[in-house]
């Protein structure tokens, strides 16, 4: 043990600030519930604990400003949770501001900056007013109240005292006609009381005499009635038929006290004690007898400090490393599988079986590791209610937020990356989508608009939706704007969908679109980039007049995927298994070229657009006729189907997704890369992008054919 005066607690600062960030977020959620009226007493307690913890840690690091503010906040929360103060809408608003200011102090502490001396003074005063129901001079509420002061913080109010009363009836008490129960009830009527029963004298059932009193009690009573009132309760029994001891316990009866600590002693007899041979007399908790404790055998010591929590916090770095390692394991296992593909179960039974088991275990391991980083999307949605409330008020619009699927789980990194885009989409909905109330009513809509925020798992991806019932996107205006900005040439034929997608084009946001509310300089293109950065994509479904839906599709697991390896020409590509519907070798009747449309597959009555991968990718040596190759029917997230012409299917395997754009840049039609069992790189196809590319090719061909026909 060192004599070192300067214990370096700064190593805990990171943990502390992380904890603060979680606590502040929890607090915000809780306050939102309280504001809406759906809060509970538990929420008040939870909120108290949030502030309490922030203050406690803050004190340890001597963040004085933070502690001073937190103290007032904490005290007001104490008043609310104990019912001494009422939670009114006005109070709830104060809590909102209080939490914001608390966040300011935490941030300042984290960054090492100092806030102006009067920062949050108004809020502090408002919080203080909660405590006392009247405006307290700010200073008085601001300092942590010292013990002696009968400040609002101390629940034992002036005139009240706390007593410990011990009642040990003589065994013959009942024979005198006294009933302990009546005494207890009378005692309880004096104030707030807690009872502890002492059964130490209770014999076994066989020996018990129903007319004998065996039980004894210790009461802790808070009352303003004074000693005499207590003594009166026992006036008939004290001394003769019962042992009664009445002792006031209060602020000063401490055996030992130091600066910020103290020992209670003598302790009242501890309840429910069965004297056991290994311990000395009950109640001997003073400093001199800890050796007693050592004598009962120590069973099951868990060594240098087990941690018993229901959850454990791990550095994200470690999780990332773990995820990477599991990814590499998957690759190695695939390689082994490939090497062993020549062996059959007859020739090498243990080897083949072992590899199958390995594959199974690897998959399970991978799923477990992925689950570590998964978190409910609730964290992402938590700010939305307040955002909608504040913004709609600011804009003079009426809007309500409906959320669904908050428990859908998503990788933690995704949640962090999506926070800004989601905020922007919601703001955009309110700013440009939802109309003013009278306009809505004039159009036969309810005055209040609805914004829906939902999340769900679908075909191996996480789908997040932000939709509104506003006026949708004005296509003509969008097109004109795009032409103005030189993004599109006037006269280019565009489908409605292509026009809608223009809002994501870089440089599209104009001064008109970028209002004070949506934020300058944050365009839809940035939103899309952020989403793409986590391997997702976003599309918009627009119904002018009725509303718009933004659909974000995100990978469920960032690293590993089930894929189908296909060959086209000399190249090999991977198709995500979740996109594949079926594959077939079409007959000449099934695969035909239609005028104006292009190649189409007729399958069970449906028309599916066909795409030649070799053409889209400019590959040689590939099979060019649909009837000679294989058509793989795939489905995009939007639900559209296309048929891809490939040479052959090479087999299904798990692949580790590796980013292409970390070292290069995005390539259209390719979502990522992977490393196959032979060490070579294979590209993972982006089915959604392929569909778009296919349409472009068809349009170009149709235009060329039209020209040639002239």
């Amino acid at each position: 043990m060192t004599e070192d005066q300067s214990y370096d607690l700064s190593r805990f600062k990171a943990t502390y600030f992380e904890e603060c960030s979680e606590l502040l977020a929890t607090a915000e959620e809780t306050i939102a519930r309280l504001q809406e009226g759906t809060g509970s007493d538990d929420d008040l307690n939870a909120l108290f604990r949030c502030v309490h913890s922030i203050k406690g840690g803050g004190g340890a690091f001597a963040f004085e400003d933070l502690v001073h503010f937190a103290h007032v906040f904490e005290t007001s929360m104490d008043a609310l949770r104990s019912g001494r103060a009422q939670l009114t809408p006005h109070v709830a608003d104060i809590l909102v501001r209080g939490n914001d200011v608390l966040g300011d102090f935490v941030r300042a502490a984290q960054e090492g900056t100092t806030l102006p001396a009067d920062h949050g003074a108004e809020v502090k005063a408002s919080l203080a007013s909660i405590i006392s129901g009247e405006r307290l001079p700010v200073d008085q509420a601001a300092r942590p109240a010292p013990m002696a002061q009968p400040a609002a913080a101390a629940p034992v109010q002036p005139g009240f005292a706390t007593w410990t009363i011990r009642l040990v009836p003589a065994p013959t008490l009942l024979k005198t006609g006294n009933d302990p129960l009546l005494m207890i009830r009378e005692l309880a009527s004096l104030g707030e009381m807690k009872v502890a029963v002492d059964r130490s004298r209770l014999p076994g059932l066989a020996e018990m005499d129903a007319q004998m009193a065996y039980l004894a009690w210790t009461f802790t009573l808070v009352t303003d009635q004074g000693r005499t009132a207590i003594e009166d309760v026992f006036e008939f029994v004290a001394g003769d038929s019962a042992e009664v001891s009445i002792e006031q316990i209060g602020q000063t009866v401490d055996a030992e006290e130091g600066d910020g600590w103290g020992l209670f002693a003598p302790l009242p007899p501890t309840p429910e004690l069965t004297p056991s041979p290994a311990t000395t007399a009950p109640g001997s908790t003073s400093a001199a007898h800890p050796a007693v404790v050592a004598s009962p055998p120590r069973g099951g010591e868990t060594g240098a400090g087990g941690i018993h929590t229901s959850s454990i916090r791990v550095d994200l770095d470690r999780v990332d490393r773990l995820v990477n390692m599991v990814g590499e394991l998957v690759i190695t296992q695939a390689m082994l599988g490939q090497q062993a593909s020549g062996f059959s179960i007859e020739s090498h039974p243990e080897l083949v079986q072992g590899l199958q088991e390995l594959s199974h275990h690897t998959r399970e391991l991978q799923e477990s590791v992925m689950a570590i980083r998964a978190q409910p999307v609730k964290a992402l949605f938590s700010r939305a209610p307040r955002l909608v409330r504040d913004l709609s008020a600011k804009l003079g619009k009426q809007a309500r937020l409906v959320m669904s699927g908050e428990n859908t789980e998503v990788d933690k990194t995704v949640i962090e990356q999506l926070s800004d885009p989601l905020t922007h989409l919601i703001r955009n909905s309110l700013d440009h989508g939802i109309e003013m109330p009278d306009e809505r009513v004039a159009n036969g809509k309810p005055a209040e608009g609805t914004i829906h925020l939902g999340a769900e798992h679908r075909s191996g991806r996480v789908i997040i939706e932000v939709s509104d019932d506003g006026k949708g996107i004005d296509r003509r205006r969008v097109l004109n704007k795009a032409i103005e900005k030189g993004l599109v040439e006037r006269g280019t034929p565009m489908t409605d969908e292509q026009i809608d997608q223009l809002i994501f084009a870089p440089g599209f946001s104009t001064a008109e679109q970028v209002s004070d509310v949506s934020g300058r300089g944050v365009g839809m293109d940035v939103v899309r980039k952020n989403i793409q950065d986590v391997g997702g994509r976003v599309v918009v479904q627009n119904i002018p007049g009725q509303g718009a839906r933004f659909i974000l599709s995100l990978p469920l697991t960032l690293a590993v995927m089930d894929g189908m390896l296909v060959a086209v020409g000399n190249q090999r590509y991977v198709l995500p298994l979740t996109n594949i519907v079926e594959s077939l070798r079409p007959t000449a009747q099934q695969a035909r070229a239609l005028v104006d449309v292009g190649d189409v597959l007729t399958l069970r009555g449906d028309y599916i657009r066909l795409l030649r991968l070799h053409k889209v990718f400019g590959l040689d040596n590939a099979i060019t006729e649909f009837t000679k190759g294989l058509v793989v029917v795939v489905e995009t997230e939007g639900g559209d189907r296309i048929g891809l012409l490939v040479d052959e299917l090479l087999g299904q395997q798990q692949v580790v997704i590796k980013s292409l754009d970390s070292n290069y840049r995005p390539v259209e039609g390719i979502s990522a890369a992977t490393i196959l069992g032979d060490g070579r790189v294979a590209l993972i196809l982006d089915v959604g992008a392929l569909r778009v590319m296919g349409e472009r090719v068809s349009q170009a061909e149709a235009a060329a054919a039209a020209q040639a026909a002239e």
Binding site: M1, Q5, Y7, F12, T15, Y16, E19, N45, R49, S53, G56, G57, G59, A60, A62, E74, T75, P144, A145, P146, A154, V156, T162, K194, I249, E256, G258, D259, G260, W261, L263, F264, L267, P268, T270, P271, E272, L273, T274, S276, T279, T280, P282, S284, T285, A287, P290, V293, P296, P297, R298, G299, G300, E301, T302, G305, G306, I307, H308, T309
Partner: protein, 121 residues
């Protein structure tokens, strides 16, 4: 043999600091984040000292003290409660529940060691 301490607090920062301080002084530390997990921890092993916060979810510190005292083998074990400065009622409740003493948060590592050594020499 090293003395073992059960540190109960729902704040990880607090737990980390208490553990760090005590382990540095040669104690074995078991951590728990609320009263329920603390009791579970005690089922698995015996400790020499218990330090607990009072404001915790699921089961608060005072209740925990009471439940610990209800176990015969912990009748005499030193239990320290961590309180805030002005929390007189909690101190009284702690006393009533059978706690040995109290320490005000925030506390310096030296103070913690001093008091723990005092109640558990």
């Amino acid at each position: 043999m090293a003395k073992s301490v059960l540190a109960v607090d729902d704040s990880k920062t607090m737990r980390d600091m208490v553990s760090f301080t005590l382990r540095g002084a040669g104690y074995t530390v078991v951590e728990a984040d609320n009263g329920v997990t603390a009791l579970k921890a005690l089922q698995g092993q015996k400790v020499d000292v218990i330090i607990t916060d009072v404001n915790m979810p699921e089961m608060d510190g005072i209740t925990l003290v009471r439940k610990i005292r209800a176990q015969p083998q912990y009748a005499g074990t030193p239990i320290l409660i961590l309180t805030t400065e002005s929390d007189q009622s909690k101190k009284d409740e702690g006393r009533g529940a059978g706690a040995t003493g109290w320490i005000v948060k925030p506390f310096s590592p030296e103070k913690l060691l001093q008091i723990v050594a005092k109640v558990c020499p």
